[in-house]
């Protein structure tokens, strides 16, 4: 008799456990990184009755496993890194574009137009101070724009540096967390049971890590979990090799292992940030912020020298000697220090409008030369006119920005597809869980009914049989 009761009880308990699992799944539907779990159920060992055969002894839930496809994870981690890389490039380049301010009235194009308009105006009344004043003011607006842009580029580059530092810290901290989880999982899984929720947590950490840097994950048969960057292990089961930031001799940032070997950063946010910080566009490197800083410096040097070379030939108002520069800059940091020559700042009559010694009031020969220099582009240190130069900078950053946007978008679609697949495999479906719930509930009720029936049988046997002796 006991025998049947136990079988029913096992059914009851198995249904109950299945309900718990269902409940856990529903509760974690929105948990990030969660993969649905299923109970592994089997019939318990039968009991052999001599002459009867094997009679079943019921059922048991012997393990709870998570539904997960390692291949999909592997693809996810592989494709997650490029999206991180292009995402930071896209964001930073968009910022850079806005910083240059085209198309708007706060752009270098506008400053240059205004400056040359004021010069052309001066050609019509070279002796009038009220015509000279705007030339100085507009020139200061131009140099001011360049100073400010140089400063904002430097700020932007600094921000990128902070991001790199944060990302490196993040990598180290995530590596440590993974190592800790490895230990816990190892302890939990000693008896061969899968530590589902801890594994989900670990995979989530790798998800996050794979966006920052290109990682490769490997889990050996005996459960050793390693994460490596460019072939060197970052996490080897419970051990972590941290990475650090070093400065190269040319001011570039390099990421090194503890033993000063370079970390092979091939993609991920970290790669994007490093490209933006270090890339100067030479020898096939990425056109990062440094590149645009260099271009701006190049513009300042070329423009200032070209303009000065003609300005020096001319004569200021009533001046018999020439050779006065209009612009000046510090060669160590041209764009940030670009300004007007002190002599121009102090005395407007030093603007060399005249082409002949003596600087007669109506002599505008040199101004005309300065104005037409903008059209011919002669004498500037770069090829072509200043306008061409500005246009080429603009086309550089706009093309790079488009590339980043396009790469991000196509990579986003790829990743979305993988995520879709992952969700299809590991995600929780309400319909499914509800159907299961009803199923387990019914099994539970049926098992309970079984106990009820057996109880009645026992009742008859115990209470109603053999009343004769009473």
């Amino acid at each position: 008799m006991d025998f049947g009761l136990h079988t029913a009880l096992r059914g009851l308990m198995a249904s109950q456990k299945s309900l718990y699992i269902t409940s856990h799944n529903i509760a974690n539907t929105n948990t990030k990184g969660y993969s649905r779990q299923v109970g592994a159920q089997r019939a318990t060992s039968p009991y052999g009755f001599p002459g009867v055969g094997f009679v079943g002894t019921g059922t048991e839930i012997y393990n709870v496993t998570r539904i997960r496809d390692f291949y999909v994870d592997f693809k996810y981690w592989k494709e997650n890194a490029p999206i991180g890389e292009w995402n930071v490039k896209m964001d930073t380049l968009t910022e850079l574009e806005k910083l240059f301010g085209e198309p708007s009235d706060s752009s270098i194009r506008k400053c240059l137009d205004d400056f040359y308009t004021s010069l052309d105006n001066l050609s019509k009344n070279p002796s009038d101070i009220s015509y000279r004043e705007p030339v100085r003011e507009k020139a200061l607006a131009l140099t001011g724009w360049i100073n400010e842009t140089a400063e904002r580029l430097a700020d932007l580059r600094n921000e990128v540096k902070f991001s790199i530092e944060a990302k490196v810290r993040d990598i180290n901290s995530k590596a440590q967390q993974i190592a800790d989880l490895n230990r816990q999982i190892y302890i939990n899984e000693v008896d061969g049971k899968s530590a589902n929720d801890l594994r989900d947590k670990r995979d989530l950490l790798v998800d996050e890590l794979s966006r920052i840097v290109n990682v490769k994950v490997d889990e050996s048969e005996d459960g050793r979990f390693t994460v490596s960057i460019g072939g060197i292990t970052l996490v080897d089961n419970t051990d972590v090799s941290v990475i650090k930031i070093d400065k190269a001799s040319n001011g570039d940032i390099v990421i090194n292992w503890g033993n000063d070997n370079k970390v092979k950063v091939e993609s991920g946010e970290l790669k994007g940030l490093l490209d933006l910080y270090n890339g100067d566009g030479t020898s096939n490197s990425y056109r990062g912020i440094k590149y645009y800083q260099n271009r701006l410096n190049e513009f300042v040097i070329g423009f200032a020298n070209g303009f000065n070379s003609i300005h020096r030939e001319g004569y200021g108002l009533n001046k018999t000697e020439n050779g006065v520069d209009f612009f000046k800059y510090n060669p160590d940091n041209p764009a940030a220090t670009f300004t007007l020559d002190d002599r121009i700042l102090e005395d407007l009559s030093n603007i060399a409008a005249a082409g002949n010694p003596g600087g007669s009031p109506e002599d505008n020969g040199n101004i005309l030369k300065l104005v037409s220099q903008r059209n011919t582009g002669m004498g500037f240190g770069f090829n072509g006119t200043p306008d061409d130069f500005i246009k080429s900078i603009m086309s550089n950053y706009s093309v790079d920005s488009i590339q980043a946007k396009n790469m991000y978008q196509s990579q986003d679609l790829i990743l979305q597809n993988i995520e879709y697949k992952r969700n299809s495999i590991s995600g929780v479906s309400y319909d499914e869980e509800m159907a299961n719930m009803v199923r387990y509930q019914q099994t539970y009720i049926a098992s309970a009914r079984m106990i009820n029936t057996l109880d009645k049988i026992i009742d008859i046997t115990v209470n109603n049989l053999g009343l004769v002796g009473r």
Partner: protein, 307 residues
């Protein structure tokens, strides 16, 4: 394939987001009337915009330059016209004086008037245009002639300044006093020094002396000189007139160019509002219908139907 609830929700959110992005871009276009806000949205159009803006700025400057040149020239022209009047009157008087019917007293009266005409000529030589001496070459801060009719400044025939009226096109604006008044019996001299006597003044002074001395030969000689100098002034006026003509032509050409450039700029970076509004209402429809469908799909599950 298993479809889970989160897949549905993620999909819906992604698609709604895409729809919103389109709407946001269109809304920006409608609000600003511009096709793009950063160059990367339209690199070629952005670089064209750069050029058109600069072109317009230059063309408008050239347009202003032609106007300023024109007003300088019309003042020059007016002064030259008056100089011509002076010479015409001098010619009439000289012819009158030379007809042999005048006695010494009459001639002295004529001399008085010639002297007045000379003074007027000096005044005309020092005509100003907003405080600048029209005929003083580069030294527009100083009068050309001093009161006694000699050159007040050293002047060269090449002290001619130009204004920009095109990218590589310049227009000479002023006429030097040297060209108008001449020196040393010629109107083609290359330079004159302080104290030199301008030819026009000298002609009138000679005439004045001849009249005073009742020198008939001198008066006769002056008739020819006054006449030829009148011819000279006419040719200078013709030169100024031709320049003004050219400027006016340039001006109407610049107007046309400015209009063209503005049109191109607008075509390049301005949106067609009708089109944008149409696109907005289409995008709106898509957005609203995806909201509707989304709301229908993500809501129900078996949960709602179990009791």
């Amino acid at each position: 394939m298993r479809i889970t609830n989160n897949m549905l929700i993620n999909n819906m959110v992604y698609n709604l987001n895409q729809n919103l992005k389109t709407l946001e871009r269109l809304q920006y276009q409608q609000a600003t009337g511009k096709k793009f806000r950063v160059p990367s949205e339209a690199p070629i159009a952005a670089s064209k915009s750069l050029k058109f803006n600069t072109d317009i700025s230059k063309l408008e400057q050239y347009r202003r330059n032609t106007e300023d040149a024109l007003s300088w020239m019309s003042d020059t022209e007016a002064a030259l016209a008056e100089i011509n009047e002076v010479l015409k009157r001098a010619y009439e008087l000289t012819v009158d004086a030379a007809n042999g019917t005048k006695d010494g007293e009459d001639l002295l009266k004529i001399k008085e008037e010639i002297d007045q005409l000379k003074k007027h000529l000096v005044q005309m030589a020092n005509t100003t245009f907003s405080g600048r001496y029209l005929f003083s070459g580069y030294s527009t801060d100083k009068p050309l002639l001093s009161d006694d009719g000699t050159y007040n400044i050293a002047i060269k025939s090449n002290e001619v300044f130009s204004y920009n009226i095109g990218n590589l096109e310049k227009m000479e604006v002023n006429i030097t006093g040297l060209e108008v008044f001449g020196v040393d019996g010629s109107f083609d001299a290359e330079s004159a020094d302080i104290g030199d006597k301008p030819e026009l003044i000298k002609i009138l002074e000679d005439l004045s002396t001849a009249l005073e001395n009742n020198n008939t030969d001198g008066i006769q000689e002056s008739i020819g000189k006054v006449q030829s100098s009148q011819g000279h002034i006419l040719s200078v006026r013709a030169k100024v007139g031709a320049r003004m003509n050219r400027l006016e032509l340039t001006q109407s050409r610049l107007d046309l160019n400015i209009n063209n450039a503005k049109e191109l700029l607008s075509y390049n970076e301005d949106v067609d509002i009708t089109e944008v509004i149409m696109n907005i209402s289409m995008a709106e429809n898509v957005y609203v219908s995806s909201l509707m469908v989304g709301a229908k799909i993500i809501q129900p599950s078996l949960v709602q139907f179990l009791s």
